[in-house]
Amino acid sequence: MPGWNVSPAAIAHAAHQAAPGPHRMNPYYGFIAPAILLIILLLLAPLAWLVGLSFDQDGEFSLYWYREITTSSGIRSMLWTTLRIVTITTAISLVLGYLVAFAMAHMGERQRMLLTLCVLIPFWLSVLVRALSWLILLRSNGLINSGLIDAGIISSPLPLVRNEAGVIIGMVHFLVPYAVFPLYAAMRAVDPRLMMAARSVGASTWRSFVDVYLPTTFPAVFGAGMLVFIFGLGFFVTPSILGGGRVVMLSEYVSVSVLQTLRWSLAGALSVVLLLATAALLYLIGKVTNLRKVLGAA
């Protein structure tokens, strides 16, 4: 999802600054009406319907499905798997993203442009093409396994896909660019005099990195991490294809509940959990850092 550039708050702020006097009836409400109505009628109302379903047990209001989520061992282990995979994915994506962003911020113009291409091309590449590529590479008769077997390094194929490892590889590949852009923007904004000051009072390169540079860029690290985590929680395509039905994460479980076991209320309750988690994390980003700055709005 490209374009996480401007926060609702930023839009509100921009709009507010340009506010006209309060004394005339504003004709511009007519401008926003079609879009707002479309969203209220065809997204918000259906969403309310879904939330309502989550409290429905044979036509009666009930918290049954929420209890089911906390007590069913199958669902609990699915949620635990999701959290584990997303946490690992976020950590790896942040480390790799920090490395790439740091190099980009400190290398020459020509190298930077080429490295930017390496990040931008996969960023814009269809999620299905990426999942397919990893499937081709990681399958038991895929390119990596057959290459290793032909080279005599292994005798039987390594299990690289249809397991957590495959899902994590695919998700990291998808999410690293989302970490790179905000981190790069933050690093470009670090005042060089800060680092000169640290060096001039005798700090080693490593000390000045750990004590000055890292804390200065920390808000961006936090924001990027939360963003990646939110995306990871809602991931559907990559886990479905690379998990091959064996690693079932939250989104796929929700879809299976509806399309195969026809448990709409359970899907509704899980959707509410996912929504609340997303909202809480977004709130946290807004609290700890300036959302607009973190998301790299230029």
Binding site: A12, I32, L38, L50, C118, L128
Partner: protein, 266 residues
């Protein structure tokens, strides 16, 4: 900026290049696979062959999916651009506390986890008889693409002097006339960027489409999804290679364009 010793910088950029290749290379693998001569998904052994491209272009199924995706993305991006631009301009000129609420509402489709949006729409689309219909997919894609248009247009509006609009209005121009003659010419770039975003979002959209259509409307991503899940055949790799090529060309052009722009500005 931070000064590193030469050795440390070589190490850091070396590692960064490894990550860059990890990001870039997997997508490229579809190209040789699509050129392999066998009916299996593997690298070409003896010679290259275009048979999978031939199969792709002579298959009416893939062709109709291509047309479905193209017409849906065109319609959805036009709708999203018109509604999103109007909405962004409206939000820009409405000075009430409600603006924050409306702004958040318009960004909702972007923030919502895809599966949740898909479920909510699925039920509603069935009830409204929009399920598995061209118009249904267009409306869903319009809603999903809307925030991207609003964001890009809002970004260009932030650079526009609000007094221009006030001047036009005080000279008696209607809001629509002001939009056409004063605001739009000044935010053209943002609107075009928003339309391109919307087109790509719709062209690529898969999760919601999976829920609200089956076979009557069968978009390219949907057909690829089935092709990957059921049995991977090299025709999918040929489609993937073409999409990969389009992405590379698009990104390189965008990068050159933005470099030119910064050069002429400085």
């Amino acid at each position: 900026m931070m000064e590193l010793s030469r050795r440390a910088m070589v190490l850091v950029s070396g590692l960064a290049w490894l990550v860059g290749l990890f990001l870039l290379l997997p997508g490229l693998i579809t190209v040789p696979v699509s050129l392999n001569e066998s009916r299996f998904v593997r690298l070409p052994r003896e010679h290259l062959s275009l048979r999978h491209y031939q199969a792709l272009f002579s298959d009416p199924g893939w062709l109709s999916s291509f047309l479905d995706s193209l017409s849906i993305a065109a319609a959805a991006s036009i709708l999203a651009t018109v509604l999103g631009t109007l909405c962004a301009v409206g939000l820009w000129r409405i000075g009430s506390r409600l603006v924050a609420l409306f702004g958040a509402l318009v960004l909702l489709p972007m923030i919502l986890p895809p599966v949740v949006a898909a479920l909510a729409m699925y039920r509603t689309w069935v009830a409204l008889n929009l399920y598995d219909r061209w118009l249904g997919v267009v409306i869903a894609h319009t809603i999903i693409a809307l925030p991207y248009v609003v964001i890009t247009v809002t970004t260009s509006l932030a650079l526009l002097d609000a007094r221009l609009e006030q001047a036009a209005r005080s000279l008696g121009a209607s809001p629509l006339r002001t939009l056409r003659d004063v605001i739009l010419p000044n935010i053209k770039g943002g609107v075009v960027t928003g339309a391109i975003f919307a087109f790509i979002i719709s062209w690529d959209e898969i999760v919601v489409t999976l829920f609200i259509s089956t076979r009557a409307v069968y978009t390219l991503p949907r057909r690829m999804w089935d092709g990957i899940r059921e049995n991977v055949d090299p025709t999918v790799a040929a489609v993937a290679s073409l999409l990969m090529a389009a992405t590379v060309i698009g990104v390189v052009f965008a990068l050159i364009y933005s470099l030119r722009k910064t050069r002429t500005q400085t």
